[in-house]
Amino acid sequence: MALDRKTEKKLKNWEQASLITSEQSLAIRQHEEKYGHSSLLFGIGWLAAACIVLGIVALIASNWEYIPAALKLVLYFGIFGLLGFTLLKGVRDRPIVQEILRLVLMGYTLAGIGLIAQIYHLHGAPWRGIAFWCLCTIGLAISCGSAWGALLWLPSAIGALTLYLSGLSLSEETGSLIAIAITAGLGTSGSLRRHLIWRHFQNVAFVLATLTVFFYTIIGRYNVASQSWFTASVTAFAVIALGIWAAALVFNKSLNRGTRFGFWVFLGFAALQIVYLHTAQSTDYGSIVTKIVSVLFFVLGTLGLAVAAFSFGKRRLFEGLCFLIFFRLLGIYAELLVSMSATGFGLISIGVFMLAGLYAWHKLKASLFKTLEVQLSGTHS
């Protein structure tokens, strides 16, 4: 595959700046041409394969009555075998095609479960079907070269578990405790040193757990205090679970100092937020003090997450989180001075703050990045 213009230009610049030799540049070019792939190409390939599979399913569906059940199954398993053989033997030296076929087989397995259920008129709880799919496709998801397999598999497995638990009619408190345990389990496993086989699962688990903590704790929903499941035992368990997750970071020696420190700050303020919102509920729920303290925890916790992202080399994410903090501050300004913000003056002041924030960011961004780089220097994973 030919190199894209951006990489080609970078290689030339680095060569001219004597950062790399012409031999190194040639080696990089050859490596990229052999192993590199465009995500657009991958996307189109995946879409094409998905169209073919869906087309086959649609053909069977539209001729449902005229195709005998046995023939439907023979067709289905025949195509499965053909796709499997192509993956194992036909496209050995084409990683993109292999990856597409793995994802297609994962989808095709789900279609098969549906087809068999239709032929034999089966009707069970949805979690059974999803759990069966997860069991069938675990190997395909693990063998995926990209995170897509894990991204499809892990939320499905969590979904199946959630559906199963919701069918048990557990109390809200028990449900919350289980949800916390799952989140902390995902976060802890995602924070440990990356294992060659499970690395994509760990990455997805880490992202899912971080997002859950972000939305359910650090964002500081004041109304959470009034929920019946937000009991002392739930609060205590959440703090312990976050503590275990934080401790897991100690064992991951591949993470640099900044990433670890930033994430500890994030988890610490998430725990503080939970405790604070729990203790505040009986005294000054919804008061200005509660809101300000909660936003303060949000700002500091999100800042910790931003520092962790920066230190890990995710600068776009760092910028996004900084903007999120800025908008949260604007939000609390509008919330506290709601009567004023409805007037012309309120709107003007919000607009001025936004422009001032953008100007300050534009001016300070370069020096901020430099300072952070110096402060957080360490080894990347």
Partner: protein
Amino acid sequence: MVPTLKTKAQTLAVALPLLALLVWTFSIAMRQGLAPASRIKLVAYDPTDLLSGHYLRFRYDFGSLNICSENANPPADRAKNQETCICVDEGADTTLEATLVTDCESVAVSCQQFVKGHCQYSSFLTDSERYYFPEEYASVLAVLPPKSEAEVAIGTDGSLAIKKIFVDSRPLLDFAKDELKRKKP
């Protein structure tokens, strides 16, 4: 060429879903094929569903016994979707009727033929309450036609699998075809 560990793992990853689906299909086919066929009366169920028009929804009519009533013995734990077993026997019109609600652990001792299911409020469900049909019959099969009966296979473990539906002794799809012709002369 000796297959590497990676190749073996890849082969296993592809073979796992294929084998699992094959075993599943085979076990259903065997269960349905070997078990003797019986008939159960059906009653229509609210067809409101996003996918209605692709399948019929119904409930089995096991006669006058209150399977999921709070007064049943043993009382059904409706909140927990607890497994419930019923002893069944052929009634006067040769369709199966429930004769006893019993504990699933001792059901094999209590009766010769039984059906395993669970209570959802007042309904006794067996996870076999759908019947798929081609979409072209959606207009005439929005609701289960009256006088419908299901031909089912009941496994030794009490699992129930639906084989066919008959409307007044006619196969469901024949009934649907006639109804469609009648609607569009």
